[in-house]
Symmetry: C2
Subunit: 313 residues, 2 copies
């Protein structure tokens, strides 16, 4: 495989591990990069000094390219950007914010910049801002998500019609079969979250990984739409959100219900009842704990097999 994405990052397989809060530290990112994909450190749940530590560690664990995922709207984004540059990271995936503000500065500092969107109109803004590639993430993805609720199947053909830079499909990529579908839709790579959240090298709590493995179809829902839409796995907390939302709870009431550190409590500390458990719809396809390297190899092999078996080859 040799396409615009593998060339852009200097990687073997166009498989990118999503930079997820509480799941993706140096260990996971390095494992994915060592397996030939692109690993990302998820900076969203890290204090700046913790992020620096993970970057330093990742440089020791792999000599392959890796990157950092950074939500731009957080108060410490600038501090983290400086750390990313100081530590010589070459790839950044930005989200939750406009690509306009930071993209030129990041590119001047030698970084490849990818921005994450959930709608084509935001894709056009990314292209204008000069990013190198776009992650287009569908409704089925875990964690924070677009208000348009556009699914991967509808988003990828639309955005590839409207922009010229390469598209990385995210949301619903739980197998090589789905990766092949993403390529048919026009993507040149995939970003996978849930499979890696449940991997051996993920820093998620073992309770959360087990809960993902046991989860069934229909057990995630996009919730908290009055705040910021987020896909959650069913538990006591999500049931309470559902009840309050059905009853017409206001933004402020939902904020109070959410409280602070709810995601850390669920995903990192393993409180399966009261924690916030962010995961994608593909969680129902995950049925055992694998290493990140096994995931990369299995997805890649199935991707090739599926493409070979399609008609009109």
């Amino acid at each position: 495989m040799n396409n615009r994405i593998t060339k852009l990052f200097g990687i073997k397989y166009p498989i990118i591990q999503g930079g997820m809060i509480w799941c993706s530290g140096a260990k996971l990112a390095a494992a994915v990069s060592n397996a030939g994909g692109l690993g990302l450190i998820g900076a969203g749940s890290m204090y700046p000094d913790i992020l620096r530590g993970h970057i330093k560690k990742c440089k020791i664990l792999t000599d392959k390219p890796f990157g950092v995922n950074l939500p731009l709207l957080m108060g410490d984004a600038e501090e983290k950007i400086n750390i990313i540059i100081e530590e010589g990271v070459k790839i950044i995936f930005t989200s939750a914010g406009s690509p306009k503000k930071w993209t030129p500065f990041l590119k001047e500092n030698g970084l490849k910049v990818v921005h994450i969107v959930a709608a084509s109109k935001h894709g056009i803004k990314c292209e204008v801002a000069g990013v190198d590639a776009i992650v287009a993430e569908g409704f089925e993805a875990g964690g924070h998500n677009g208000r348009e609720e556009t699914t991967t199947m509808c988003l990828i053909p639309k955005i590839t019609q409207e922009v010229n830079i390469p598209i990385i499909a995210a949301g619903g990529i739980g197998s090589g079969r789905a990766m092949a579908a993403a390529f048919a839709l026009g993507a040149e790579a995939v970003q996978i979250g849930s499979l890696f959240a449940a991997s051996k090298e993920s820093s998620a709590h073992k309770n959360f990984k087990q809960k993902i493995i046991e989860s069934k179809e229909g057990e995630t829902l996009l919730m908290l739409k009055k705040l910021a839409p987020v896909r959650l796995l069913s538990n006591a907390f999500s049931f309470e959100v559902f009840e309050q939302e059905s009853g017409g709870a206001s933004k402020d009431e939902l904020k109070e219900l959410l409280g602070k550190a709810r995601a850390k409590r669920g995903m990192f500390e393993g409180d399966l009842l009261e924690g916030e458990l962010e995961i994608g719809q593909v969680s129902s396809m995950i049925d055992n704990l694998k290493s990140a390297g096994e995931i990369v190899e299995e997805v890649w092999k199935e991707f090739q097999d599926v493409l070979e078996q399609l008609p009109y080859n």
Copy 2:
């Protein structure tokens, strides 16, 4: 193309036109069948005698196979089933109800039976009930939809793992590109709704067709979840639903808001403000009025082109 679906129905292309209320009478069904796909008469919005008239007309308009889509939960389902059998229809797509009750009777009467589901667990029930194929319809589809909110990208790989009968993918199939993706996911055919709802031969009101053509990304949402989830195009009515749902309206309040004949008013009579406009997310990809035959040919050509261009051919 020669696979289990083309053989089952005796059709040239594995492209099925969804049997939609207020859009798909004899004219549309015959046009699709004449173009080499499978046309379906949508019985859901027809009185029994009207259905009989459409079947008779369809037999005149085409000598190719066609079928009828029938929601099983409606009070006149049995009467319509008898008409379908009397008129010698050979293919039925059933939905909204259990496949268990009617499938044996329909098969004894020489019909090929397909049931529509939105979750794998219902797919397993279909296989046990003896249906010949399953339509697996994702969250992005127009009209009535599953409570699981599973997207086509997640639903198709899951259901093809769990059942052995052929799967027809629906929801988000707005192009040959999406059809190729559906095949990569494991489907052996696609069912297309929105493109045909906006076709020349659709019996939808011209105002509704024009509204579909003008619609943009993110302008449909799955609503009325407390009643039966349905994907609607944005208008004054859907805004009122959104406001009431956000405010915690009860099932009864939503029923009252919906009232009677709201879908007919929107889709058939062309009231774009107060009517219910059922359409899929792919509506944003539709930008001009085509004939059903053009749609079949364009989807089929793009499907082949995309498969030929994929790597590992």
